[in-house]
């Protein structure tokens, strides 16, 4: 966080500086570039995972997250799928 961001936050302006925005957007877009998967494709993969798993177990569909994580040696595609157990089920 730059000094400007800190100052903005002090004054109650949550918007990051354009420098910070540029950095965050670049980091995100490069994850997709490097893995050769379009961001929209990730959404599609997520929907298909939900469809497949829902056939067998009950899951919290709204809570499903499919993301990239950057490791030291390789990147991973991580699917986080919350299950609906008897306790969480309403």
């Amino acid at each position: 966080m730059s000094l400007t961001d800190f100052w903005n936050r002090l004054r109650g302006q949550p918007q990051p500086s354009s420098r910070e925005a540029a950095k965050q957007r670049l980091q995100l877009v490069l994850v997709h570039d490097r893995n050769q998967i379009e961001p929209g494709m990730l959404e599609r993969i997520k929907d298909e995972i939900i469809a497949v798993i829902s056939k067998h177990v009950e899951i919290d569909q709204a809570g499903v997250q499919v993301t990239f994580t950057r490791g030291e040696r390789e990147n991973r595609l991580v699917a986080d799928i919350p299950l609906l157990t008897r306790r969480t089920r309403k």
Partner: protein
């Protein structure tokens, strides 16, 4: 001693490849190194005008490759710097006139009599780029601190690694210290975080580059130009010297002007 062949490339066009090649070439020659600046941007020749040597061209790189002249006949000597030579691109042909193997052979012919061969690559990631990195011992990527240039640089970093020419080193060109301070431009540290490669230079945005290019006198020849100093420092680093990286401050505002009054040289070197 055999020359080191260094290709200067970027992915995105317009970030300052040709300006960098010309100025680093001049700066290496100022250090007494025997330098050939080779324009590999066939069809879009520009290294000649940036160096101010456009009126002296008789033969070009395609003439050498196709055997219409000998290599030595095509090399243009810079009168300001006897150690600096230009091998111009052809303006009437296109990228297909030079194959990778041609450029590799040409560079091998240049190696024995020189210390550095700097190749100004074509923009993009296609044929022209691939040809330009084929003879390279080292690759330098030029980028600007903005999203499109950095994204393209990242692509090029990967391609250079895949071609086993890596790791490439980075020049951040046209940095505006005032904008960085205001939080409106990526800083060098941001770019390095993202690209994860080694830095070899930071060149500030500087009007003197445009003005000196207008006249065909590269800024590296200008003792007072901030960009010129940055290019000369890049040459020293390429030459193996340990030169600390510059920190730039905004000197446009009132305080900047006051600070400048109190500093002897007026510029950070």
């Amino acid at each position: 001693m055999a020359a080191r062949v260094i290709t200067i490339t970027s992915g995105k066009g317009g970030v300052g490849k040709t300006t960098t090649t010309a100025n680093v070439g001049v700066a290496l020659a100022l250090l007494g190194k025997r330098v050939v600046c080779l324009d590999a941007d066939i069809g879009l020749r520009n290294l000649d005008v940036v160096l101010g040597l456009e009126n002296r061209i008789v033969y070009d790189v395609v003439d050498v490759i196709e055997g219409r002249c000998r290599l030595r006949q095509a090399l243009i000597k810079d009168k300001r710097l006897p150690e600096l030579l230009l091998l111009p691109a052809s303006q009437k042909r296109d990228k297909s006139a030079v194959r990778s193997a041609d450029l590799v052979k040409l560079c091998d012919d240049l190696r024995p009599d020189h210390d550095f061969v700097l190749i100004d690559s074509a923009a993009g990631i296609e044929e022209g780029f691939r040809t330009a990195i084929a003879p390279a011992d080292e690759v330098v990527i030029v980028t600007n601190p903005e999203v499109s240039a950095v994204r393209d640089a990242d692509r090029v970093v990967g391609l250079i690694e895949a071609a086993e020419k890596g790791p490439a080193r980075l020049i951040v060109n046209r940095l505006k210290p005032g904008l960085v301070q205001r939080g409106d431009m990526l800083d060098t540290s941001d770019v390095l975080d993202i690209l994860a490669i080694d830095l070899i230079g930071i060149v500030p945005e500087d009007e003197s580059v445009l003005i000196s290019t207008n006249r065909g006198n590269p800024a590296a020849l200008d003792e007072r130009s901030a960009a010129g100093i940055a290019f000369r420092n890049i040459a020293r680093r390429l030459n193996g010297e340990d030169v600390p990286f510059e920190t730039y401050r905004d000197e446009a505002g009132f305080f900047g002007r006051v600070a400048r009054l109190f500093r002897r040289n007026g510029r950070v070197s």
